[in-house]
């Protein structure tokens, strides 16, 4: 069991010391390592998912407490006891910067609760995303092979590092598979030699970066610090062992189109969680700029003459194309249901994997003709081991049931509180998340 505390980070020298510099001992050491169990007996997992172009709001919100009782959310009905729908959350940090209609630029804020304008309509995060914070907290308990699984089906990442810098996401499913599961296929002596070799090089790179940084100005040192942080994370990953958890992993086949990519990435995430390779996941399903996926021919929209060719154009039409938009939104809920099912089908001590997970899916805007960052659609599935009381629709702040709220103004509830609640549900304490102006959490979700 590897418990990491504070600055006691792994180094090649420490490894060699522990080994008595004898590579022959390595397999033994691996065998001794076991999973760290959490206090509650099962590991918790977080999966963030971002999608875009808003939703057909009148067809999204359920009339009553059943969180799946709407056309769009109906694909989740088999899991309705595990769904939680918080209605009426604003990306307050953007509203307060007068960025009400910059929905196409909200991904940096969606899971960080921070915002900084960097010219034109472009925004950037100034702090870490929820998935990063959770993965860092987990890494203090257990050394997982991939502490943060960050993948992009299309579009730009929502995941951000400590300083708010974008965490580049994986876009290639085969490469992701190799990252997650390669250690299961390589013979142990070869793997140990590779680890030692990489450790030597990373040790060298670490020294070079540290001295390189010393002569630079402040802004440049931040860039090098991000690089150094990445190198240290790679060093940590080298010391992780493959999980003994009983699980099967199969390499994904070719994913030539958007539909297949969606399925393949969900399969990989489910495998990674099941095999306990990763407990924090960031997924981007659609580009916040509105250009990916550009079209969804598989839903049968081919009426370009009526502005119904491009997904983004459909969203832009607002009510005039709610029929088409609803089928797009519903398709995404089918995808969410697919992932939820994959996790719910796996039992572990105390329930299914889904029971010990929270999936949080958030959109970049309220509605496609409006582009506003108030009334953001969020869907939660899984209760993080009972930390969240699921099976409910929770109306927050000034939310009302007309389904028109996104036009009526802001609800006054910063989505930072959702992020704080989710961090707490993942056993990361704190009374706020992201921008310090927005304190508190949502006790209503407990």
């Amino acid at each position: 069991m590897i418990i990491r505390t504070g600055e006691n980070r792994f180094s090649r020298r420490a490894l060699l010391r522990r080994l008595g510099a004898s590579a022959a001992l390595l397999p033994l050491l691996h065998a001794e390592r076991a999973r760290a169990a959490t206090a509650t007996g099962f590991p918790k997992r977080l999966i963030t998912i971002a999608w875009s172009n808003g939703v057909a709001q009148p067809n999204f919100y359920p009339p009553a407490d059943d969180p799946t009782q709407s056309d769009i959310l109906s694909p989740l009905a088999p899991w309705k006891s595990k769904v939680l729908l918080p209605c009426g959350l604003d990306i307050q940090v953007m509203l307060d910067d007068k960025r009400t209609y910059d929905g196409h630029f909200s991904f940096p804020s969606l899971f960080t609760g921070t915002y900084k304008n960097i010219g034109g309509q472009n925004g950037a995060a100034t702090g870490p995303s929820l998935d990063q914070v959770v993965s860092d907290a987990v890494a203090k308990q257990v050394n997982l092979p991939v502490p943060l699984l960050n993948a992009l089906v299309t579009g730009r990442p929502t995941s951000a590092g400590v300083g708010g810098q974008k965490n580049t996401g994986e876009t290639d499913p085969v490469r992701l598979y190799n990252t997650l599961f390669a250690s299961r296929t390589m013979p142990s002596p070869q793997l140990d030699q590779l680890r030692l070799r990489r450790q030597s090089v990373l040790d060298y790179v670490n020294q070079e970066l540290t001295s390189f940084s010393a002569t630079l100005g402040t802004d440049d040192r931040i860039k090098v610090a991000a690089h150094l942080d990445s190198i240290r994370k790679l060093e940590l990953e080298l010391t992780a062992t493959a999980s003994p958890a009983a699980c099967t992993a199969t390499s994904p086949g070719p994913a030539p189109d958007y539909q297949t990519r969606m399925k393949v990435f969900s399969d990989l995430v489910a495998m990674a969680v099941r095999c306990d390779v990763s407990r924090a996941v960031s997924l981007v399903w659609a580009d916040d700029g509105g250009s990916g996926p550009a079209t969804m021919p598989f839903l049968g929209f081919n009426d370009a003459a009526n502005g119904l060719g491009e997904v983004h154009a459909i969203a832009h039409q607002g009510a005039a194309a709610y029929v088409q938009k609803t089928s797009i939104d519903k398709w995404y809920m089918t995808q969410l249901a697919y992932l939820a099912k994959a996790l719910d089908d796996s039992m572990e001590a105390g329930g299914t994997i889904l029971d010990h997970t929270v999936i949080v899916m958030g959109n970049d805007m309220s509605e496609g003709s409006f582009h506003s960052v108030n009334a953001i659609p969020f869907v939660l599935v899984g209760g993080a081991g009972g930390a969240l009381r699921t099976g409910r629709t929770v109306k927050l702040g000034k939310w009302n049931t007309t389904g028109q709220y996104w036009k009526a103004g802001n609800t006054g509830i910063p989505h930072n509180r959702l992020l704080a609640s989710l961090a707490q549900a993942m056993d990361v304490p704190g009374d706020g998340f992201g921008d310090p102006r927005y304190t508190g959490s949502l006790t209503e979700l407990k």
């Binding site: 965490n167 060298y204 940084s213 010393a214 802004d219 079209t295």
Partner: protein, 559 residues
């Protein structure tokens, strides 16, 4: 859970003392340049009001995908282009490629590339070794580190850097039990992940050369700036020799090298890449999806041909032609294959190779009427005056739009009747849309003779195309009947030429201009100020300008 930035910085800065504090005596700086210092501000033209001694910041940048692949090609002879696996290096806040800070995923892929490059290098290690290891492996490793290291880090190594690389070599031999060649491979693997290789910062750990309020770049820094600007790659032997001899200190010396570099084929790739990035015509795949029912011919092969056409055209004008602005915007020839011939309505063009083809001069004039630009700025199902106008307004005229207002209803779809122009004109009378669209749409309407992939048309949705409009250029309002007349006006405009020069300055500096670059912008613009100026002259002027050879000290930088 606030950002831990302060702790982060302390961590980065606090681990070791400043290198310069101990290393100064160990590094032999290149010979001091003779003469020109502050008295050599480049050559801002008479009338320039900018401070001739000022220079903007030089933020730390790392190699772009293109630069990385070119560099390993020139450093190792490796043509595998491993950086194509790296995450996209487009920066949405900047027109040109600019790689982001290195996140875990980037570091992982950089490591993979280094591992495969090193493994390939080991197979033919003799080609890289400056010595025979049979005569002494340790000595040969040391010589390799200093010789190859100079080319990998693009400057001489400090003794500390050499010592760390030799320690890596030793751990390869002793801990990993590698043979000589494999241990050299390990050293290469390390170098390719070192900041001195990955970042554009070819200053060794010597104190920066302050001259007045600015820092003069060292000769090795100039060598790399020149080669990366003009070739997108590392310096060649001759540039390294000039740096070693301290012969890159004056504007005249830099100009001489710039002209030499422009004679190399690598410069052609740079000009083509500049246009590709500036006009974003390499983004047809991501940014210009088309409705297959409207444009069934718009497939991967056609998209690739569109981008290749623009590359071939600008390459021809700049290097085989007169290189003039008016030619780039007015030429009635281009490079077509059969697929492009279909778009141009020229079925006589056959084959998959691009070949020079004369075009109907009443329909086509230069790169703005090429399908790559028109498809990129077109809609999925037709033309798009807003996107086209915005591109002209921002990219060709360097003008800035006010931020868009909230809640603008979209223009009506074609099924509502009326031509594209009718529907967008109605949209523009909408009170809240007027602010922006009256600025850009008239420029976009000029291209109404071209559909969503650039096919020429005279009718749109059953109505005659009206591509006329007016534009204010160089302070004078001019009218045009169509895109051919608009591009002619742009081709004769000093304002547009200056904007083009500004775009090259941004490309060369990998950042937006600031007030401190005013004189440098004037220097660049002066290199492209007449009808007879060539893009090659402009590139030389950019290389000699003050902000290319000097920089402001960074805030927080050790003095």
């Amino acid at each position: 859970m606030k950002p831990l930035l302060a702790a982060f910085l302390l961590l980065a800065a606090g681990c070791t003392g400043r290198i310069g504090a101990t290393a100064e005596g160990d590094f032999t700086p290149p010979p001091s340049p003779t003469g020109p210092g502050p008295s050599d501000p480049g050559n801002p033209p008479p009338g320039s009001t900018g401070d001739p001694n000022a220079a903007g910041l030089m933020p730390l940048r790392r190699l772009t995908i293109r630069e990385y692949d070119n560099t390993v090609r020139d450093l190792l002879g490796d043509m595998s282009a491993p950086a194509l696996q790296f995450p996209d290096d487009r920066d949405e806040t900047f027109a040109f490629r600019r790689a982001h800070p290195i996140a875990v995923q980037d570091a992982t892929l950089i490591r993979s590339a280094a591992e495969s490059l090193a493994a390939a290098a080991v197979k033919n290690i003799g080609a890289l070794l400056p010595c025979d290891p049979a005569a002494g492996e340790q000595d040969c490793a040391g010589k390799f580190v200093s010789d190859f290291g100079l080319r990998a880090f693009r400057r001489p190594l400090t003794s500390e850097e050499s010592a760390r690389l030799m320690a890596l070599y030793a751990s390869g031999r002793n801990t990993l039990k590698l043979g000589f060649a494999d241990a050299i491979g390990l050293v290469i693997e390390g170098m390719l992940q070192a900041p001195a290789f990955l970042y554009h910062w070819e200053a060794p750990a010597a104190a920066p050369i302050h001259e007045g309020a600015v820092v003069r770049l060292g000769h090795y820094e100039i060598a790399s700036r020149l080669s990366y600007f003009l070739w997108g790659s590392m310096p060649d032997r001759e540039l390294f020799a000039a740096a070693a001899a301290g012969q890159l200190g004056t504007a005249a010396e830099v100009e001489g090298q710039a002209r030499r570099l422009l004679g190399d084929p690598r410069a052609r790739d740079t000009v083509a890449s500049f246009f590709e990035e500036w006009l974003a015509v390499d983004m047809l795949d991501e940014k210009a999806a088309k409705d297959p029912k409207v444009y069934p011919e718009y497939n991967d092969a056609l998209k690739a041909a569109m981008t290749a056409e623009t590359r071939a055209f600008v390459d021809n004008v700049v290097f085989d032609g007169d290189g003039r602005w008016a030619t780039l915007l007015g030429a009635s020839f281009s490079f077509l294959n059969q697929a492009l011939g279909g778009v141009y309505g020229m079925p006589q063009v056959t084959g998959s190779d691009l070949r020079r083809t004369d075009l109907d001069r009443t329909q086509r004039a230069g790169f703005l009427t090429e399908p790559s630009f028109l498809a990129l700025t077109g809609a999925a199902d037709g033309s798009h005056p807003v996107r086209r106008g915005k591109a002209i307004y921002e990219k060709l005229l360097c003008r800035e739009l006010p931020p868009p207002p909230a809640n603008v209803p979209p223009a009506k779809p074609a099924s509502a009747g009326g031509s594209t122009r009718d529907r967008f004109t109605e949209h523009d009378t909408n009170e809240c849309a007027r602010g922006c669209h009256t600025l850009i749409d008239p420029l976009g309407f000029a291209f109404e003779n071209y559909d969503g992939i650039g096919k020429y048309r005279t009718m749109d949705n059953g109505k005659m195309v009206d591509a006329s409009g007016e534009v204010t250029l160089d302070g004078t309002t001019r009218t045009f009947a169509n895109a051919i007349e608009l591009t002619t006006l742009l081709g004769a405009s000093a304002e547009a030429r200056r904007c083009f020069a500004t775009q090259w300055v941004r490309y060369a500096l990998a950042r937006q201009e600031t007030a401190a670059d005013a004189a440098s912008l004037d220097t660049a613009a002066a290199g492209f100020s007449t009808d007879a100026s060539s893009v090659r002259d402009l590139m030389v002027a950019v290389a000699t300008m003050r902000s290319f050879r000097y920089r402001s000290p960074s805030p927080g930088e050790a003095p």
